[in-house]
Every structure is written in structure tokens, then in C-alpha cells.
């Protein structure tokens, strides 16, 4: 009796306080302000959804291109396989599962996702997932269904993470937060790949973002769980693994490995192990099963690079034909060694100074290092770099917006192949405009804000030289070059003896941007933090 009475009293007083607060002048203004922020946020989210859906009305990868089709058919095929075969046969080659035709080569979580989608597809139209006979199935209704699955995944996982990140972890006025959110959601690269080309990057990147968000808010165990999910959705998330590991380890060490730190470490390790175990549960009964999955996920036999990727190997290839000079194994070791070498500095820095700011920079550095030097990189992997860059949109608007533009540009040949020229042009132009208007990118490129002071010391520049001006001009030239090359590669036929001229030019220009960014962010991570803003961030 007393307990309920107490509870009632407590409730009443709470309501009373709340109402008093609401009806007071201050409370009214507070409430309207909060409501305004949320209505702006909802407008941003709705626009993000509309743009995604608008892009998804366009063509997709491999549309009407038998016999192999493209990524769209791959995803559909996985639905077919996971629905019709028992779990034990998903990753094995047999009469019902031809691994040479888009065999499953992603970790189990992707497979489960396909399985769920397949169940829904079966309810709507059984023909979509019929074993063997549904191969290469295409119809407007099916396209609508597939596009919807991507959008649903985005709305459930990626978009909420972006919203929360921008509202809670980006600093500044609420208007600045909303502007950041706007640009973050409208980053063209991810939209075009997920909703145009057709993939589910939003899921893995979304989980990774949830991880970052949780770490930023101090919930380390939850963060590591979210990141483990990301890893189990797409093995490419390994690009981000080292910073997560170093940040958490560094934090534990800072807390003292004998006391609270140890407890934290054990908790995180347990969470990660449990998450992995849950994801791999059906494959754990038999070691050969698990081994086969691992073999499928990491295909070493596919060569140093494919197509035209804006990384070191492909760019070097225009000068030296590496693939014919070096043996296959040596290529593997070389790329492995270089990648480790490139990741090491930022990781060590993060290990010794585990701040959130350093963590974000390390995410960029690590993923860029992997993209530039590692083995078997796809052009789409640049999205893994774009995500941490998006996290910095608020702090370093100029550099981030520039990089994001370049990263979208680097995938131009892919978009042209998929017939996504119009959405590419429209979304890129819109993003450029947005970043200039909303983030006022061009106003934020004074030397101090771009952290260029270190360069002055490094390069022994004359103190009067205005580095910021030079950088701004570089930006204009690079935007003009990207726009010009985009137009050229659409309008002109390449000369007959150089059929790959434009893709090679695109990837080389993009590579120069990426290399520049890599060096810049590494220097940034090692430079002192002069401004007051950074001091706050250190706490």
C-alpha cells in the first residue's frame, strides 16, 4: 500500500513539475526550441529518404545483362540459396549451390539478412526465390521489393545512427548540428552505391556507426558489440577494426590494467566473443564448416586488384606492370607489409592517447591505409573511408567535403557502367552546393581551422605565405578537374588504342586526392592541438 502510494505521489509530483515547467515561459521556449530542432531533423531525414528512393528508381548493376548480371542478382541469388538450402550447405559448392555463380562470400549476418528477406519475398511472390528457376529473375515488382529492402535496412540501422551521432556527438549550435546531419545523410557515394548500384553497405556501416556512437557516449561494451555485428555483416569492416581495438585497449591501459581497466577489458572481450559466437552458432558444430566460411570470406586467389581502383597498386600499374613482375604470393606479402606499415603510426598514437578525437582520426587513417595498400580492394571500399570522414564533417568541413566529393568521383566508371549518370550528376552537384551553403565550407578554410600550422613548421615556410589561399585554389582546381573529367568521359569516345583512358585518369586523380588526405590526416593526428576547441575535445 505504502509503496503504491509513494509511487503515486512520486508520479503526481513529477507531472506537476513537468506541467509547471511546460507552462512557465522558459519551459515553453525550451519546448518550442526542442520541437523546432526535431522538426528540422525530420525534414532532413525525409529528404534523405526521398533522395534515396528517387535514386533507386534508376537502373541497377547488371540490369538485363545475362549470363552473370550484377550485384542485384547476387543479392537475389543469396536469398534463393539461403531460403532453399539448409544452413550447412550455404557456403559449400554442390549441385544445388554453384559457388561460381555468385556464391555467398560474406559473413553469416549477411546470409541471415538474405534469409529474412527471402521469407518476405516468398510471401509476396514465390517465383522470386524458387531454387534454380528464379536465376536472373527481373521484374518491376521485384525491383520495387529489392529496393524497399535496402531502404528499410537504411531506415532501421543507418539513418538513426547518423541522426543520433549528429545530435549528441557533434558540437555547436543546433542549427550547425542539423546542417551536418543534412550533409551526412545526403553523401552521394553511399546513396548511389546502395540504392543505385545495389548493395547493403548501409547495414555494415550503420552498425559501425552505432559502435562509434556508443564509444563516444562511453558505453564501451555496447560499442564493441555493435562493431562485432558490423564485422559479421561484412568482412571489409576490418578496415575499421584496428582503431576500435586500439582505442578500447588504450582506454583499458589508461584505467590501469590491474584494476578497473582489467575489468573493462574482460567485459569487452566477453561481449565480442559472445556476439561472434551467436553469429557463427550454426557453423561452430563442425570445424570444417567454419573453415569453409573463412575461406569463402577471404578469397586470396583473386589478385592484387580488380578493374580500376584508385589505390596505390592500380595507380602504380600505369607506370610499372606489377602483376606481371611479382609472383602472386609476393604481391600478397608486400601489400600486407605495406598496409601494416601504413596503419601502424596512427594506431600507436591512438594506443598512447585514447581520446575520441584521436579515435575518429585513426578511423580515417586506418581505413585509408587499407584502401590504398591492401590486397584485393574494390572501388566501393572507399565508402569505408567516407564514413569516418563524414564523422569529421562538423570539425573539418573543408577537408571532409572535399574528400567526399573526390570519393564519389572515384566511382564514376562504375556509375557509368550501371547507367547512373543522371543521379550521379544531380546528387554530386547538390552535395557540393549543400556543403558550400550549409557548412559554409569556403569560410572555414583559414589556416588555423584547417590545422595547417604544422605544415608551416614542417616545410620551413615563410611565415607570411598564405597556405590557406593555396589550398583553396587547389580545391577549385580539383573540383573543376573532377567536373571536367566527368563530362569528358561521358561526351568523348576514348582513342582506339587507349580504351581505358578515362577510367585510368579518374582513378589516378582520385588516388592523388586520397594519398593527399592520408598524409594530411596522419600529420593532423601527430600535430599538437593548438586551438581551444581541441582542448575541450581532449577532456
Amino acid at each position: 500500500m505504502t509503496y503504491t502510494g509513494n509511487a503515486n505521489w512520486f508520479q503526481n509530483s513529477l507531472t506537476e513539475h513537468f506541467l509547471a515547467f511546460v507552462f512557465s515561459q522558459k519551459g515553453y521556449f525550451f519546448l518550442t526550441r526542442v520541437m523546432q530542432t526535431w522538426s528540422l531533423v525530420s525534414i532532413c531525414v525525409l529528404l534523405g529518404v526521398v533522395v534515396r528512393w528517387g535514386v533507386s528508381l534508376n537502373s541497377y548493376s547488371g540490369a538485363q545483362k545475362p549470363p552473370m548480371f550484377g550485384d542485384y542478382e547476387a543479392q537475389r541469388h543469396w536469398q534463393e540459396v539461403t531460403y532453399n538450402l539448409p544452413v550447412q550447405e550455404w557456403y559449400f559448392n554442390n549441385t544445388d549451390n554453384d559457388l561460381n555463380y555468385w556464391g555467398l562470400d560474406y559473413p553469416p549476418l549477411t546470409a541471415y539478412h538474405s534469409w529474412i528477406c527471402a521469407y518476405i519475398a516468398k510471401i509476396i511472390n514465390p517465383e522470386w526465390v524458387e531454387l534454380h528457376r528464379s536465376r536472373g529473375y527481373e521484374s518491376p515488382a521485384h525491383k520495387l521489393f529489392m529496393r524497399t529492402t535496402v531502404l528499410v535496412a537504411d531506415v532501421l540501422i543507418y539513418i538513426p545512427a547518423v541522426v543520433l551521432y549528429c545530435l549528441y556527438l557533434a558540437d555547436g549550435s543546433s542549427k550547425k548540428k542539423v546542417s551536418t546531419l543534412f550533409c551526412f545523410l545526403l553523401y552521394p557515394g553511399l546513396i548511389l552505391i546502395d540504392h543505385g548500384h545495389f548493395q547493403y553497405n548501409g547495414v555494415s556501416l550503420g552498425f559501425a556507426l552505432w559502435g562509434v556512437l556508443a564509444l563516444g557516449l562511453g558505453w564501451d561494451a555496447l560499442g564493441s558489440m555493435a562493431f562485432s555485428l558490423a564485422l559479421n555483416y561484412k568482412q571489409m569492416e576490418l578496415y575499421h577494426a584496428l582503431p576500435f581495438f586500439c582505442y578500447l585497449l588504450g582506454k583499458c591501459v589508461k584505467d590501469g590494467l590491474m584494476g578497473r581497466g582489467l575489468f573493462l577489458l574482460v567485459r569487452i572481450a566477453a561481449t565480442v566473443l559472445a556476439t561472434f559466437a551467436l553469429c557463427w552458432l550454426p557453423f561452430l558444430s563442425d570445424p570444417s564448416q567454419a573453415l569453409q566460411v573463412v575461406r569463402r570470406i577471404f578469397p586470396v586467389g583473386r589478385g592484387l586488384f580488380e578493374d580500376k581502383v584508385a589505390n596505390t597498386w592500380c595507380s602504380l600499374n600505369t607506370l610499372i606492370k606489377i602483376r606481371s613482375i611479382l609472383s602472386g604470393d609476393f604481391q600478397l606479402y608486400l601489400s600486407f607489409a605495406l598496409t601494416i606499415l601504413a596503419v601502424l603510426p596512427s594506431s600507436i598514437r591512438l594506443l598512447t592517447k585514447p581520446t575520441f578525437w584521436n579515435f575518429k582520426l585513426a578511423l580515417v587513417n586506418s581505413s585509408l591505409a587499407f584502401f590504398l595498400f591492401s590486397y584485393q580492394v574494390h572501388e566501393k571500399s572507399i565508402l569505408l573511408v567516407a564514413l569516418p570522414i563524414c564523422l569529421l564533417l562538423n570539425d573539418l568541413p573543408f577537408t571532409s567535403a572535399w574528400f567526399l566529393q573526390a570519393s564519389t568521383f572515384s566511382m564514376l566508371p562504375l556509375f557509368l557502367k550501371d547507367g547512373l549518370l543522371v543521379p550521379y550528376a544531380v546528387t554530386s552537384a547538390a552535395f557540393l552546393l549543400l556543403s558550400i551553403c550549409l557548412l559554409s565550407v569556403l569560410d572555414h578554410c583559414s589556416e588555423e581551422e584547417m590545422e595547417l600550422c604544422t605544415y608551416k613548421k614542417l616545410l620551413f615556410c615563410h611565415p607570411k605565405m598564405d597556405l590557406a589561399c593555396i589550398v583553396r585554389w587547389k580545391f577549385y582546381i580539383s573540383i573543376a578537374a573532377m567536373a571536367g573529367l566527368s563530362i569528358l568521359s561521358v561526351a568523348l569516345e576514348p582513342p582506339r588504342h587507349l580504351p581505358d583512358l578515362f577510367p585510368v585518369l579518374v582513378s589516378t586523380i582520385a588516388f592523388l586526392h586520397f594519398l593527399g588526405t592520408f598524409i594530411h590526416f596522419n600529420i593532423l593526428q601527430f600535430s599538437k592541438l593548438p586551438s581551444r576547441k581541441r582542448q575541450k575535445k581532449n577532456n
Binding site: T32, M35, Q36, S39, L40, S42, I43, L46, L47, V49, V50, V51, W53, G54, V55, L57, N58, L144, L151, V422, P423, V426, T427, A429, A430
Partner: protein, 505 residues
């Protein structure tokens, strides 16, 4: 900021305009209004035909085949691209007009915050207008271009450049004759406010101040524009043919999908009476005319119990409905803003009572009302009510599953913005809408869910395919009628105020 549009799939509706491009490009002027290979004959005034003629000169560089009259339903990717781009480019007129309008907005207090600036809010309300976006860039029409002329002419009147305003409006009339609906407001306003230079002190008309010169200049402008446009056809003796194309009274009282006006309520009342009559055995089912409701065809709709409506009746009702507004600005002119209010009443009155009204015509009210909405509280409330209802009534225009998400998101975006921004502009004095109005708007959500989600899954889908359209138009017509009354009320109030003050603004 109109970036999304070109990603949206093309629709068959643009065949109309492709056909007009072909007609104006490949046929001599004398046969423009006689050509009838396609069922979509040219039924816009001559200046619009010339506009299409100009477009066709650009179009031939995209794809020559779209300019052949026999190529019915031709839609190559280049054609689609050209058509979409032409809408986007001609929208520049609209953007320019919005800029002019937002300059005329009265600012009470200067604020640093961009959301507090009425001119910014107005530009967003106009540029992001859901209805215009849907009708132009998804459904396909050149309304942005036409509304550009209308808003520009309104802006010119607000800036007291009456001659330019009149010139723009007469051009507009010759581009699309639907704007005849608001012509009474223009006529009376120009005559009263421009041709009479002074008022007597108590605000009544000063007959002595009549300026013949001004009337002559005004008349000269209007007549010369009309001569330029209709003249050639008059010389060729084709005027009756042109007019018969422009005013096809053979169509029914209501469009296939009933526009949310008084006739939608009239029709449903008739239907209810029939059902009741049959139930109560007052009527014999066999004797009733076969009223198929409007199941998708443009046809005459016969009323069973209530008297049928003739075009003359609708004309009479329309004139009656706009009469008080016109008389009011004749007796007590209240400057350009009074004129704008009268224009709105004319537009809404003809939407309410007109013959064969399209649901898109509601934009003729919503767009100019935005200007008043950022300036006055009362109008902001009407705007929120009317824009939400009117925009929702456009939903049936987009009916494929792929468009569902787009229309819902765009509508929510626009509505969220207009509510937030207008409430912020007019904060501090209670809410803009009355509780019952809020309740009505929430009902719209229920209607939307029922029509778009529940109904397609229900077994009624095959038996009563027209039910969602019916519910939508009837529910929306209640809101539109109510807004009409509220708009009249606001006119009456400002009338009273003017009487008390005795001085016009």
C-alpha cells in the same frame, strides 16, 4: 534545390505536351487548332502554342522523332530528358518571381535567425511547394512557368508597378485561360485603384479623379497582347474553332476524380439519398439512371434524386460566390493586399463552384496565399488548413506503388516545414489552428492510411475500386469549403476594420 526531380520516372501524361511540340513544329499555324490525330488536341491559348513552338526548336537537337505528329506515345530517353529539363529550365521564371515576391514582404522586426525572416520562409514555401513539385516534375506540366507569371504580376502590383502587372497578367491569360478565374479581381482592382487616382476622405470613390489616360494605357496594353495572340487566328477566321478547343463544355460537371469542391459534396449527397431511398423503398432501383459514379472516364454524371447541374448553373454560382469579394474591393480598396485577398477569393470561389474543375487548380489559391500567410496570423491558419487539405487531395494523381513513398515523404516534409516555420513566425499568441481544425487535419492522416495502406489489402479493392478516391475528395472538400468560409470571414473582418479606421493601408 529542385535536384530530385530528374530521378523520378517518366509518366504518360507528358504525351500531351509531346504532341503539342509535334503539332507546333511540323504544321503551319493555320492547322494548329484543327489537328486531331492524337486525342490530346491543342487546348491552350495561342501564346502557349508559340511557347511550345519555341521549345520544339530546342527539342530537335535532342531527338527529331518526338516532333512527328504520328509518333503517338513516343517516349525515348532523350525525349523524357528533354521534357523534364524543359520544365526545370522554364522554372527559372518561377524562381525569379519568388525572389520578387519575397522582396515585397513586410518585415516587422529584423532578426538574425534565418528561420525568423518572413522572406526566407516565403521563398521556401513557394519553391518547395509540394503541389507544384508533384504536378510539374512528377506528373508533368508547365505550371511553375505559368505561376511564375502570376506571382510576378502580383509582386509588381505589390510594388505599385501596375502597368507591368497588367502586362504580365494579360500574357498569362494568353498562355493558359484557366487564369480567367482571377481576372475579375484584376479588372476591378485596376479600374478602382489605378484609374481612379484619389479617394474621398471617408474612403468612398472619388468620381472626379478618374484618369482617362490611365484607362487608355491599360486598355492599350491588354488589347495589344490579345491582338498579338488571337489576332492571326481572327484574320484566318478560325476564332470559333480556337474557342471551341479552349472551352470544351462537353465534359462533365466533375473530372474523373472529383476535385474537392462543393459538387463533390453534392454528388455524394445525391448518392446517399439514392441509397437511403432504395432502402426505405421510396425509389425503384430499375427507374434510376445508370449512374456509374466516376469510375475513371470523363463523362456526364447524372444525378438521380437531386436536380442535375448545367454549366450555366455553375457559372451563376461562381459569379455569385465571387461577387461579394469584388464588390468589397470596389467599395473599399485596401491596396495591393486587399487585391490579393480578392484574387484568392476569386480563385477559390471558382474552384468551389466551377464546371469540370481539376484538382490541380487548388494551387491557384495555395501559392498566392503563401504571401499573406507569412504576414498575418489569421491567414497563416487558413494557409495551413487549405494547403494541407489541398495537397492531400493531389495524392490520387500519383498512384503507383513506387510513387507512394515519394508523395508521402514530400508532403510530410512540406507540411512539417510550413507548420514549424509559420508557428515560429507568429509565435507568442496562442496556436494558429483551432482544436477542431487540428482534429480535422489529424483525420486526414487516418484517411491517408485507410486509402493507401488498408484499402489495397482489403477485399473491397475489386468490388469498389473508386472508394478511396471518393473518400479522399469528399473529406478534402469539407476542408476546402471551410477554408473558403474562413477566407471570406477574414475579408469581412478587414472590411470592418477599414470601416472603423476609415483609412486604407
Amino acid at each position: 534545390n529542385m535536384a530530385v526531380q530528374s530521378d523520378v520516372e517518366p509518366f504518360l501524361h507528358f504525351e500531351v505536351h509531346r504532341n503539342w511540340l509535334a503539332i507546333t513544329h511540323s504544321l503551319p499555324v493555320s492547322s494548329w487548332y484543327h489537328e486531331n490525330t492524337s486525342e490530346w488536341t491543342l487546348d491552350y491559348p495561342p501564346l502557349f502554342a508559340w511557347f511550345e513552338f519555341g521549345l520544339s526548336k530546342v527539342a530537335q537537337h535532342f531527338d527529331k522523332n518526338m516532333l512527328l505528329v504520328e509518333n503517338l506515345n513516343y517516349a525515348s530517353p532523350e525525349t523524357v530528358m528533354f521534357q523534364r529539363l524543359s520544365v526545370i529550365f522554364t522554372d527559372l521564371v518561377f524562381i525569379f518571381a519568388v525572389r520578387e515576391c519575397s522582396r515585397c514582404v513586410q518585415v516587422q522586426k529584423v532578426s538574425r535567425d534565418i528561420l525568423d525572416q518572413p522572406s526566407f520562409v516565403l521563398s521556401v514555401l513557394l519553391l518547395w511547394n509540394f503541389g507544384l513539385f508533384v504536378v510539374d516534375h512528377i506528373h508533368f506540366q508547365y505550371n511553375g512557368f505559368l505561376f511564375g507569371f502570376l506571382l510576378l504580376s502580383v509582386a509588381k502590383h505589390l510594388q505599385s508597378e501596375h502597368l507591368q502587372g497588367a502586362l504580365l497578367f494579360s500574357i498569362l491569360l494568353n498562355l493558359k485561360h484557366i487564369y480567367l478565374y482571377v481576372a475579375p479581381a484584376y479588372g476591378v482592382y485596376l479600374l478602382r485603384d489605378y484609374c481612379f487616382t484619389r479617394d474621398v476622405k471617408d474612403g468612398s470613390i472619388g468620381w472626379r479623379s478618374f484618369s482617362l489616360l490611365r484607362l487608355l494605357v491599360l486598355g492599350g496594353i491588354v488589347v495589344s497582347v490579345f491582338t498579338l495572340s488571337v489576332g492571326p487566328f481572327l484574320v484566318m477566321g478560325q476564332l470559333p474553332q480556337v474557342l471551341s478547343r479552349l472551352f470544351p463544355f462537353k465534359r462533365g460537371l466533375c473530372h474523373a476524380y472529383w476535385a474537392p469542391n462543393i459538387w463533390a459534396l453534392y454528388n455524394i449527397l445525391d448518392k446517399v439519398l439514392v441509397v437511403l431511398g432504395v432502402r426505405l423503398k421510396l425509389l425503384q432501383e430499375a427507374e434510376l439512371p445508370r449512374a456509374s459514379m466516376t469510375g475513371g472516364l470523363v463523362q456526364e454524371f447524372q444525378h438521380s434524386v437531386l436536380p442535375s447541374i448545367s454549366p450555366a448553373t455553375t457559372l451563376f454560382c461562381t459569379l455569385l460566390s465571387i461577387l461579394p469579394a469584388v464588390v468589397s474591393i470596389w467599395r473599399r480598396p485596401r491596396g495591393a493586399r486587399g487585391f490579393l485577398r480578392c484574387l484568392l477569393l476569386c480563385a477559390l470561389g471558382s474552384f468551389m463552384f466551377g464546371w469540370h474543375v481539376h484538382e490541380k487548380a487548388v494551387l491557384l489559391v495555395i501559392l498566392p496565399l503563401s504571401i499573406l500567410a507569412v504576414e498575418s496570423r489569421e491567414d497563416a491558419g487558413i494557409f495551413l488548413l487549405l494547403s494541407t487539405t489541398g495537397h492531400y487531395s493531389l495524392f490520387p494523381l500519383l498512384h503507383t506503388p513506387a510513387e507512394l513513398l515519394i508523395k508521402v515523404c514530400l508532403m510530410l516534409m512540406f507540411t512539417t516545414f510550413s507548420f514549424t516555420a509559420l508557428r515560429r513566425l507568429h509565435r507568442g499568441k496562442g496556436s494558429l489552428l483551432r482544436p477542431l481544425e487540428v482534429f480535422y487535419l489529424l483525420g486526414l492522416v487516418a484517411v491517408a492510411i485507410a486509402c493507401e495502406v488498408v484499402f489495397p489489402l482489403s477485399p473491397w479493392k475489386h468490388r469498389l475500386p473508386f472508394l478511396p478516391l471518393l473518400v479522399t475528395s469528399v473529406y478534402c472538400s469539407v476542408g476546402v469549403c471551410y477554408s473558403f468560409l474562413r477566407l471570406y470571414l477574414s475579408l469581412w473582418r478587414s472590411d470592418c476594420k477599414a470601416k472603423q479606421g476609415g483609412v486604407k493601408s
